[in-house]
Symmetry: C2
Subunit: 343 residues, 2 copies
Amino acid sequence: MPHYKLALLGFGNVGQALARLLLRKQDELHHRYGLTFSVTGIATGHHGNAIDPAGINLESALAAMTAGGDALSPLATLPPSGDSFDFVRRCGANVLFENSPVNYASGQPAVDHLQTALELGMHTITANKGPVVHAYRALTNLAASKGRKFYFESAVMDGAPIFSLFRETLPTSNVSAFRGVLNSTTNLILTRMESGESFDQAVAYAQAIGIAETDPSGDIDGWDAAVKVAALVTVLMDFPLLPTQVERQGIRSISPQEVQRARQVDKRWRLICSAERTTEGLRARVQPEMVPSSSPFYQIEGTTSLIQFETDVLGSLTLIETDPGPETTAYGLLADFINAVRD
Amino acid sequence: MPHYKLALLGFGNVGQALARLLLRKQDELHHRYGLTFSVTGIATGHHGNAIDPAGINLESALAAMTAGGDALSPLATLPPSGDSFDFVRRCGANVLFENSPVNYASGQPAVDHLQTALELGMHTITANKGPVVHAYRALTNLAASKGRKFYFESAVMDGAPIFSLFRETLPTSNVSAFRGVLNSTTNLILTRMESGESFDQAVAYAQAIGIAETDPSGDIDGWDAAVKVAALVTVLMDFPLLPTQVERQGIRSISPQEVQRARQVDKRWRLICSAERTTEGLRARVQPEMVPSSSPFYQIEGTTSLIQFETDVLGSLTLIETDPGPETTAYGLLADFINAVRD
């Protein structure tokens, strides 16, 4: 029975959810997929890191994180890593889960983490969109040359199967277009404005419940959505596209009056992500649209996301993921791990 | 490069759509999946059959079918088959596509066709639900013992990936419940009744456009839906269930007055398929429900179908397949073929 050594680079909400899921699914991985695992390394930005070739106790690591400070170092049996690259080189893993903070303009340092891990012969799995839009082909080709996988199911729509859907279940299909609601912060803000709040009030609410960031412009100006569009186009339409190449309009320009007027005619504003092949090439957009009540986009609320694909083999195929959270992102990482090693 | 010999048992709307799709995707199968194929046998109930170890010209076969009568026999280079089992034994294929008319009470003769083909070492692929509900475990185990696959993606929701979704993209997930609209004839009848038609008028319309059968009771009384529920429960919930074990209520009892009353409160009747694990075991049902306009079921019209899955790893995951037809069923068969041989 194969045994896999895992390393977790990044141990925030998603990394910790992955640790809990690994504990919960340990027996099933053994009995249904015939594989066992140990976690030989965990690294964080602010809570230290630990490497133990014999395997770190995940329950201890989760408990330590609640204490704060240099929480992880006491779990190590080898000296702590100097930096994240030193960690990747010394973690001794077969599979690296890369979930460190990423710069969306460059995809770094995630791209270099993943490249280093692949060169060392690890499977590489990330929930980061950055490496997908900046280095999909390079990392995929490097992985193939090493007989390993670079998977990133959780980069778009959390754990819902989007990339694996096309990779595994829809062979020979060609995506000609898609439309989706993929950013929950703007969805929440628009929904709050329907109830009479101003734009600023709605943003403040989204920040208060931890959905929007302190600087909410990444969501509000459509950058997060544009990165997701670029990732989907790059992978599913085989057309390398940067977020800056996506036509992008955020939701700042929508006034409360426009939101109310839409409601009066039984419509709602939604930030729509889309792409389509055209005779000139490809058109990719993020823009607010008024959708009628007959549209499936009309019902999308909260963190729920929806995407409709047009292909050359099926009618329109729609996926809706309802109320995802860090635990669903963690599931996408686990699914990638299983699919990488059982292929 | 591997070469596969295919046999088509059943060459009606779906079989012919598969032949056209195979022709259209031939180059892609070669270049993207590194495989080539020939069709060594085609058998029909009323238009003869043909076996040619060197490969039947699919365009000729499609053209011949428009002529009617014993259309296929002139394409044969070997003597015609005595019956469908003789065809399976003599077709010389690596992959059998079984799409012959099936008895839903027994799953025959499809079950025996598939068993015979598996014993001869063929991969077996069908769009028939009958063999899934009557012989899923037996055929799957037989296939495994022969190192072959028994796949049936098109048995529920045409070519939309349902079975392969869980098999390939959602490892370790456990389905706890599902709800769906899976029968288009009842959907159409209920929609027509909303426009003021009587039940009988709506049934007559569905028959006139070829959606409902001469004896429409299989749809109207919920049998088709119950067979689909049984197939989903058997495979995805690992709980063998016969259609007769599904609580079943069709749409005969819904009066035009009830349909109109629902519309007045912004609701619609839909025939809902569902199953859920309970403390006592499993409850599976087909029954009409009034759904509110906020429900995704409310929008489902025409041949469109929708299913919502509850699992232990994601929030609710919903798939919608819009306006499928024989060509999408054919795509499910093609996807099964590719997945069977690339595994």
